[in-house]
Amino acid sequence: MSAESESNSGLLRSLVPPDQVDRLFGVCGAHGWKLLAASAVVGALPPLLGLQQGYYMTVISEMFLFAILALSWDIVGGQTGYPSFGNMAFFGIGAYTTAILIKDFAISFPVAMVVAGLVAVAFAAVIGAVVLRLRGHYFAIATLGVLLAAQQISRNLDITGGASGKILLEVPSGTVFYYLFLGVLVVEMGVVYYLSNTRFGFILNAIRDDEEKATAMGFNTTYYKTAAWMLASLFTGVAGGAYSLFNTFIDPQTAYNGAWNVELIAMALLGGSGTVAGPVIGAFGLHTVIEVVETAFVGWQLVLLGIVVIVTVIGFPEGAVGTLREYASEMEYYKRGGMAATDSGEEVSADE
């Protein structure tokens, strides 16, 4: 993050003064709820202004969907420091739950979606008890194992339709899904934003930064990790529950999509993990680029995804929002902290 900003810091500083960026963060922080409300209104406008069901509406709905998934991933991956490669398992379970409930049990769509979320949460509670004992690479691999196992199981069961999956023909219109994904996203952003300023949110961040220290301070980290994991699975499960109808079709490959899981991580990292806006911005940005590339050069979007991940991890590990925040707080540090640091030695001798 710093190598970049230091090499051309002169030009960058004059164009975008850090204290202005800092002020922007201050404004955003002070008016978070208003910003969220305004975004919700802006997001709700396009269909009212004449956006018809079709390609663009589908693309925007998918953007909302990916933002939900990336933000959910970030609750555990970014806020709590447990990078999961198995979030799509919650998605798949949610997707199959609605598909089965609606097709085989004639349950209504809204009820089925809520149940989908709850089933995903129950699954997360059970799986979390095992995988959340692992850390770092081991956690990542274990969660990937959960995803692959879930995919394999659904491929071999009758109720899930086996490898050929389930087709859903009577589905609501695209506008319904547009507002559904938008609504879930706004609610989720509100929840994450609220939590990030509570003691619960602080504890999650503490677990990310130093879990042993957090334990030594009296926090039962297993409890908090599991709570975060279940919260993430709720939103992911609901989104999956809506997706099977949005897509009108669900099979093991689409429901438990490992490539999507990588996309989610890339979106969160690119936008700035550990923040509220970061994963959402990352999802909007990356999904747009992927969509454009896919339209122009079919197949190359995966190459692009790989390049984006590499560049982000090497150049901007904090993501767009994190890098900006770092840039802004840098000045803060030199203005106040840097001086405090050099002063403190002298102040001591003055006291003597």
């Binding site: 957090a214 030594a216 301070m217 405090a340």
Partner: protein, 261 residues
Amino acid sequence: MSKATDAAETDPQGERAVLRTDGVTKRFGGLTAVDDVDVEVQNGEIVGLIGPNGAGKSTLFNCITGTLNADEGRVYLQGQDVTDWPEYKIARAGLGRMFQETRIFGDMTVRKNLLLAAQEGGASVGNLLRRPDDSLLARTEELLDYVDLGGLADTRAGRLSFGQQKLIEFAMELMAEPDLLLMDEPAGGINPAMLENLIQYIRTANEDEEATIFLIEHNMDFVMEIADRIYVLAHGERIAEGTPEEIQNDQRVLDAYLGRE
């Protein structure tokens, strides 16, 4: 039956010691890192724990905090048997700990580090979902000003220098107000000017806030100056206990440090 359990969970000696270990032993394979060690820390005391490298000081600390389970012996905190408790529960019962290598939450702001340390309210759902109130925020600012780091509240803690981080870690303990604070080499790696500061802070916390402190230290001048009493460990065994003067003149201690048997 339940009465017997109750009795076993309280300190049989029934004294008002904040901390008492009774024959704590910890083995790693064939090595006995801590061998039948008794220590006791009374309310309001500053007690030092010294000994050559590998004497078992940090292991004893780990047995007290619950990071490691003692193979034998009991640990009593405020008269309660906490030997088999999980680490977080012991911490919640009033045990604070500062690590040897300073450990704070680097990607969180300094303010959040301090807010996190505040213990009031516990783990109730209501408390977890509440935003920090004004009195807590005010206390944070007050403590930051106290350790001369006012104005750094919004800085990412990981940006601070090692010495500053140590002060933040100490301020976090002032925020938490534990019944007993374990400090593992507080003087390690900080410059002499900041050490003077730290001594002052520890003294003030001890005198004004009646903080009880149990500390491991290699810096002899520092520990002799600050401790009321000192325990000496060598090869896992407690070889001496006494006031700083007594320890300085103890032949066994001198032998242990000079490597004589």
